[in-house]
Structures are given as structure tokens and as C-alpha cells.
Symmetry: D2
Subunit: 100 residues, 4 copies
């Protein structure tokens, strides 16, 4: 039971719940976080890794020292699904704890 | 240049700077932290791991779900050294960020 | 649907499938691994952490530099269940890759 | 004492010691690894993170499930330095252990 690609309307409703994220070309979600150093960035990434593996849905991520960039999409559905927004909200919760 | 075992007086001065820790039998420092779940505990442990490897001084740690216990000592010196207190303060700083 | 405590007979059958583990007092599984250094030990622990969180069943573990000790039990069942043996086999597979 | 940018000749000598890497536009080293799944990729990344933090020199890395891409350069020197080649060799050693 693969997750289904969201309609444009569903996507617009979901995107309002995660203000830090942008929809980029090709139906992907993008967000960049800036942490104070590599230790903070990588321990945050470890928390994201644990949640992603449990969810069975993995983000693309890029790291340069304190910067972490995520790109989310569901390859099997050819675009954004409910899983991407679930993962985005999970990432926000984990980042919020470190950055606040 | 191995770190030198602290005298009893030096130990007493240092221990006052880290109120959450106890000196236990055999010249070791002990502290237990309680996190809300395993994801929080393990991402904290990853931050500690990065700092310990960089410092070249590793804690003994034990984990059960959200609980993390540390035991610090300097085997080469046969007791507590300045390195143990440095690591204890580093661990406190990392835990403080997550728990506050 | 909590996992059920295994009977003595079931436990004996299972224990034969994981020769490196011992049943210790109180219905727990114990195994100790020795890695060459902390980096090897901690990256192995990270793999175990990802699998444990996904399984929803977490080991107790203790680390001192290259040594990693696991104690497995199912608290809710008051002893060993199928989940403990599943996790033990998973840990063995992950360790085998690093140690061979 | 910042590391110094290598001359073209020094770069050519070094690059021969790490056959899996390519020099890309702008004086950077690139290598892509493919692991069997996310658990294997992320535990490898954790080992790299520990070594990088200890070295005080961090790679840019990108991960998508089992794929890990590294881009190495020394920003302070405006190009490749001995540190980049040291980190590249360290990454190769860690990857070799997992992939062989």
C-alpha cells in the first residue's frame, strides 16, 4: 500500500502547517537549518535518522558543518505524499528542541 | 604526557563545579540523566561521543531507553584527573541543552 | 498486544540459534563485543540504535571504549520474549559485519 | 597555523593515493559511496563524523538512503590542502571496512 501523491489542493493545505518549508521544482519539500556547530548538527541528524528509519521514509540531507539541508519527496509516488509532511513535522519538532 | 591523578583537595575543589555528579568508590565520577525517550537519549549520546573522541578521553556509559548513566575515571592515572572533570562539564553542557 | 514470555522449552530452542549469548539470572540475555576502538564501537551502536528504535524494542547497553555489552529482556512480559531473540539476532548480524 | 593550499604538482601526487576520488571544479574532492541500506550508510556516516570532529576538518556530505556523497575542500585556504587528502584516506578506510 504505497502512499498516494497529494493533489494540489491537499498540498496547499499541508504546506500551511509547516511554515519553514518551501515546495521546490519537481514536487519536493526543502528546508535548511543552521546549528551552532557540527556536534549540534550531527546529533540532531542522528535523531532525524532514528525517526526516518522507524517511519520507513528517508529524507535526502546535506550537511556542511552547522548547516543541514533537507529535501523530501516520495519517489514511489512521483511527488509529495502525506509521509513527506509527516516527516517534515517530525524534523521541525526535533530541530525546535535544539534551536530554541 | 599522561594526566596526573588529582589530590583529595583538588578533587574537592573540582567536584563543587559539577553539582550533579557524585564521587563513587574507587575514584570515579557518576551521573545519571533521564531523557524523555530513546531518540532524545541517543542523539545526546552521539554529541557526547563526538566530544569524547575529540578529547581523547571516553566515558563509560550505560543506556536503558531514556536513561543514560556515566562513570568517569582515568585508568592510566588510577583515579580522577582534570580530564574527567573537563568531560563531566562538557556532558553537563550538552545535557542541559536537551533537558531545559 | 504485548509479546508473551517464552516457556523454558521455547527459550532453550531459541538460545541455540544465538551461540554468543548467555541467559543470565532473572531471564535476560547477555553478550559482550570487543571492537578495535571507540569509533568502531560507536558506529556499530548507532546501527543497533536504528534497528532497536524501528523494532520498538530497546536493549540495555554499556560501552567502555571498544567494549559493548548488551542485556536484553522484555520488561512488560517479566522475562524473555520472541522480541529479545529477534533483537539479539539483529545485533549479531550488525556486529558480524564489523568484526569479520 | 592554517593549512596551505597545495600546488598543482602536490595535488597530482596526492590524488594518486586515493583512486576512488575525483578533483572537481573549484578545487574540491568528490566521492560517492553506495551502501546496502540506510542503517549501513548512517552508521558509516557516524564513524566519519567522529573522525572529522577529531581532525577539526569536516566534509560536506549528502545522503539519500544508501548513497553517501562527500565533497572535500579547505575553505580557509581556498582550495585543497593536506587536510583534505588526510580526511579522504580516513573516509576510504572506514568505507572499505563496511563495503568489503
Amino acid at each position: 500500500m504505497a502512499p498516494q501523491k497529494l493533489t494540489e489542493e491537499e498540498t496547499l493545505t499541508e504546506i500551511c502547517t509547516i511554515p519553514g518549508w518551501k515546495v521546490i521544482f519537481g514536487g519536493k519539500l526543502l528546508r535548511i537549518f543552521q546549528f551552532k556547530d557540527f556536534v549540534e548538527a550531527f546529533s540532531f541528524l542522528t535523531a532525524v535518522a532514528l525517526e526516518a528509519e522507524k517511519l520507513g521514509h528517508h529524507p535526502e540531507f546535506r550537511n556542511v558543518y552547522g548547516m543541514v539541508e533537507f529535501i523530501l519527496t516520495t519517489h514511489d509516488a512521483g511527488g509529495l505524499t502525506a509521509l513527506d509532511f509527516k516527516l517534515a513535522r517530525k524534523i521541525d519538532t526535533l530541530a525546535h528542541k535544539v534551536l530554541s
